[in-house]
């Protein structure tokens, strides 16, 4: 239960937004949102992806302007026209994606933004860094190149930078997605220390558990509107179960039946995959035997990764981002050459085969980067659905494209997978993230698949699409496919998987059965290895 620091209730809120409206083409991101953020309080903004949290933060950070409504800082009506103005007003924002310069050192990153005509004030900066380190209870090497630090450490530098010029408001946008359980605890400690010094903290998340654990106060957003608010006094006396029920009620209405989406929100992390007995009597279907792969600068080297997956099993790969998961997925799919070791699918040795050959033998890979890697944004949905089969019959004949068949195939898939698109000819970049994911799933879930690798399948998706994606994963396993799910969300893994391995620094540290207490064992594996 969060400690309740004493706050003078008559004081002016550090930041307040009144009646904010913000529209984007096709969507009303903020629909008359009004909120107060008090000093010395951790105020959680809870809502699924797409609820409008990030837009609101963008406004406070000076990245965009509201269409209407006012923003008050310390009671005064202010227009935050740019990130610089936001900083000058004492508002520091830590975004989800690291907003630091990787090729500069920690100290240089902190000194960034000084008056352009002057020399670097190294001494002053060092002194200030020391103060911050003490306050927050963290230790950072000022001359370390930022790109070399762990994600958790980078985030700490981000927090320091956000408060560098004496900020009194700290905004954290989904900060836990790249942390180990230990890292999350550390973050909690840092937040509490700051709160106790009077900093107003705005914490954005889509995870109910986090909201309960960290929040002094919780505001719930859904579809651009504030649907509910659990102020400090009330929250202090509620149990986790109470909070859960209340959030459900506020988000989905006081109906008796709980919808599938609500269940997804609620059971996030609380449901475990029912042990559908995986038949391990026969041989494993997919075998990864001591696979190692080299890496370019900035990538992670894979060392002796080994695990087996039985038909119908869901095998999870946990770990903080950047520990080799992406490289492993690429090695399995054929995008990264295997330096040593073997990959065996049934009776076929895949090790030296190319991407196309592996695909023909039943390997499927759904990448986490939907637009960057998984699709070609300017080409149509129809083309993208067949982009991995260019030149193959029946859509190609003697090298010539049979566009009619290509389009028919697309229309068929659009129907089956409920892909929302104006037409099969629409450039795929115009679709929403959820629908692009559906295209990827449709593309890879063909009948001849034998092993499928899902990399962060629900990243950035709203509740509905998250649920659909997870259902599809379970369905694929149910049909006997060896299913591998890579994710940074432990809750997701415990919900879907039979066994879970932990990746750290390019190695598979251990494999845990998804039974009672699995989270703890996973946490140990992740932390022990994350001694960067």
């Amino acid at each position: 239960m969060p400690q309740v620091a004493q706050v003078d209730r008559n004081a002016v809120p550090a930041v307040a937004v009144e009646d904010i409206v913000k529209r984007f083409p096709g969507v009303l991101a903020n629909d008359h949102v009004s909120l107060d953020f008090e000093k010395g309080e951790i105020h959680v903004l809870l809502g699924e992806n797409g609820a409008g949290k990030s837009t609101l933060i963008g406004i406070l950070a000076g990245m965009q302007q509201p269409d209407s409504g006012t923003v008050r800082v310390n009671g005064q009506v202010i227009r935050i026209g740019s990130p610089r103005e936001s900083l000058q007003l004492g508002i520091g924002t830590v975004f989800q994606h690291v907003l630091l310069v990787r090729s500069l050192t920690v100290l240089e990153n902190l000194m960034l933004g000084g008056p352009w005509w002057s020399r670097l004030g190294r001494h002053e900066a060092l002194a200030r860094l020391m103060t911050f380190s003490e306050t927050l209870g963290v230790v950072i090497d000022p001359d370390a190149e930022l790109g070399r630090l762990s994600l958790g450490q980078q985030q700490q530098v981000e927090i320091i930078r956000a408060l560098w010029h004496g900020g009194r408001v700290l905004i954290l946008d989904e900060p836990t997605s790249m942390l180990t359980p230990a890292g999350v605890r550390e973050l909690g400690q840092v937040m509490r220390r700051l709160r106790d010094q009077g900093v107003a903290i705005i914490f954005i998340t889509h995870k109910l558990k986090e909201a309960y654990e960290f929040g002094d106060r919780i505001s719930i957003l859904r579809l651009g509107r504030v649907v509910g608010d659990l102020p400090k006094a009330r929250l202090a006396s509620m149990s986790e179960g109470d909070v859960t029920n209340e959030v459900i009620r506020l988000m989905f209405g006081p109906t008796a039946t709980v919808t599938g989406d609500a269940r997804a929100l609620v059971h996030e992390g609380q449901r475990r995959r029912r042990a559908v007995a995986v038949d391990r009597s026969g041989e494993p279907l997919f075998m990864v035997r001591d696979v190692s792969a080299s890496a370019r600068p900035g990538e992670t080297v894979l060392s002796n990764v080994a695990f087996d997956v039985w038909p119908g099993e869901v095998f999870g790969i946990a770990g903080v981002d950047g520990n080799g998961q992406k490289e492993l997925a690429e090695a399995l799919a054929g995008q990264r050459p295997v330096a040593s070791g073997r990959l065996v699918l049934g009776d076929d040795d895949l090790t030296t085969l190319g991407i196309g050959a592996r695909r023909r033998l039943g390997m499927r890979y759904i990448t986490d980067e939907r637009l960057g890697e998984g699709t070609v944004g300017t080409h149509s949905v129809a083309t993208n659905l067949l982009v991995k089969e260019i030149g193959l019959p029946p859509y190609w004949w003697r090298g010539m494209t049979r566009w009619k068949q290509v389009r028919e195939h697309a229309r068929d898939k659009i129907e089956t997978f409920d892909i929302r698109t104006p037409s099969e000819q629409t450039p795929i970049a115009r679709l929403s993230g959820g629908n692009i994911q559906k295209v990827l799933l449709a593309r890879e879930a063909s009948s001849e698949a034998r092993v499928v690798v899902f990399n962060k399948p629900t990243y950035g998706l709203d509740l509905h699409n998250t649920r659909l994606a997870r259902e599809r994963i379970l369905k694929s396993a149910a049909s006997g496919i060896a299913t591998i799910v890579i994710s940074t969300e432990l809750d997701e893994l415990t919900e879907l998987c039979d066994r879970i391995g932990v990746m750290s620094q390019g190695r598979l540290r251990g494999i845990v059965d998804n039974t009672e207490g699995a989270e703890m064992r996973l946490g140990v594996l992740m932390t022990g290895a994350d001694a960067a």
């Binding site: 991407i355 944004g377 300017t378 982009v387 260019i390 000819q425 629409t426």
Partner: protein, 364 residues
């Protein structure tokens, strides 16, 4: 700008927001004509600033390039090398490769063919000589792009610089070849041996236009077909649009990169061969028509569409031939065409930008 262009080419009617076909057509027409008009206007202002009458200039251009029978034939003849270079550039740009080495590839191929043809014609029939020379020209061009292709495929070195440098080197080398090994000792001016007019490409009907123009047209159409209707063309487009997705999809990026360079440079080299066999019959020292870079804006204007590029090339050929005449009569040197080309490119970029902004603010 490339992505936008590709998008329009790929999305056929029957998709996208509901707009009348009429409005579609006018918008496209505007996007194409506006840069041209603006460039001509700006060009006129420059001529004015130099103390000459722009109306007279354009009048001479049209008179010679379009209206005069001999002039128009010269115009059509000029389209042959331009079309082949355009075909080569379309292949490269669609695949996301900036082949800026076209001038060097063109000139080297021309020089080699100019030296080869007179030798072969002595003991081979014309059709065979022509065929072999075409192959030689294409080969020379392709070989000259090998190094940039390798550097890009193996080491990811930006091809803009490598192809440019190879171009400068190629032009220098071509000059050396003309002046030394390929020099015809019987002429006072350093040049290659001349191919007799009777042995050059056959003329069409009664005109001075040679058969190479037909070849060029066919090639452009074939390239267009290839890009829009074959698996190979689609693969090239994917590599150009998103190389990471191409890798993810299992495309052979290295092979496709080499193929793109070879095809692009080969077509350009063929252009050089056609120009020599059809028009000049020889290469003089320090000759460098530098058609290559001039074709770039035309390819962009045509949104990399093979059929559309034919019209733009014709328009530009009128400008070139007419401009040569206007240069003599009005003393506005041929450099003006360079300026016009640059203006065309800039206004094209501006119009594209404005159109992009307009569309973004008015999204579905």
């Amino acid at each position: 700008m490339t992505a936008e262009a590709q998008q329009d080419v790929n999305v056929t009617a029957g998709g996208g927001p509901r707009r009348s076909a009429w409005r579609d057509a006018t918008t496209t027409a505007l996007r194409v004509l506006l840069p041209v008009l603006l460039a001509l206007l700006a060009g006129a202002l420059i001529i004015l600033a130099l103390g000459k009458d722009p109306l007279t200039y354009y009048e001479y251009v049209v008179q010679r390039g379009l209206l005069s029978p001999t002039g128009f034939q010269a115009t059509v003849t000029r389209t042959a090398p331009l079309l082949l270079i355009a075909a080569g550039l379309i292949v490269a740009f669609r695949a996301g490769i900036w082949n800026l080495g076209v001038d060097g590839q063109f000139l080297l191929a021309a020089v080699v063919v100019a030296a080869l043809a007179p030798e072969l014609i002595v003991f081979l029939p014309r059709w065979l000589t022509v065929l072999l020379c075409f192959v030689a020209g294409a080969l020379v061009g392709a070989i000259w792009s090998l190094l940039p292709a390798f550097l890009k495929a193996r080491h990811g070195v930006n091809e803009i610089i490598t192809t440019l440098m190879m171009s400068f080197l190629g032009i220098s080398l071509a000059n050396v070849l003309v002046k030394i090994p390929f020099n015809d000792p019987t002429t006072t001016v350093p040049q290659t041996a001349t191919l007799p007019v009777a042995d050059r490409l056959p003329r069409l009907f009664d005109t001075t236009v040679h058969a190479g123009v037909i070849l060029a047209l066919v090639v452009v159409l074939l390239v267009h077909l290839m890009m829009t209707r074959t698996a190979f063309g689609l693969k090239l487009q994917i590599v150009g649009a998103n190389p990471r997705a191409a890798l993810h999809a299992g495309l052979n990026i290295t092979g496709l990169t080499f193929a793109t360079f070879a095809l692009s440079a080969g077509l350009t080299g063929l252009g050089g061969a056609v120009e020599i066999l059809g028009v000049w019959g020889t290469v003089r020292a320090d000759w460098n028509p530098a058609y290559g870079l001039l074709v770039i804006p035309l390819v962009f204007l045509a949104r990399f569409n093979g059929i559309a590029v034919i019209g733009f090339v014709l328009f530009f050929a009128v400008l070139m031939i007419g401009g040569e005449s206007a240069a003599r009569r009005l003393d506005v040197p041929h450099f003006f065409v360079l300026v016009l080309v640059a203006l065309l490119l800039m206004f094209l970029a501006v119009v594209e930008y404005l159109d992009h902004r307009r569309r973004q603010s008015r999204v579905d």
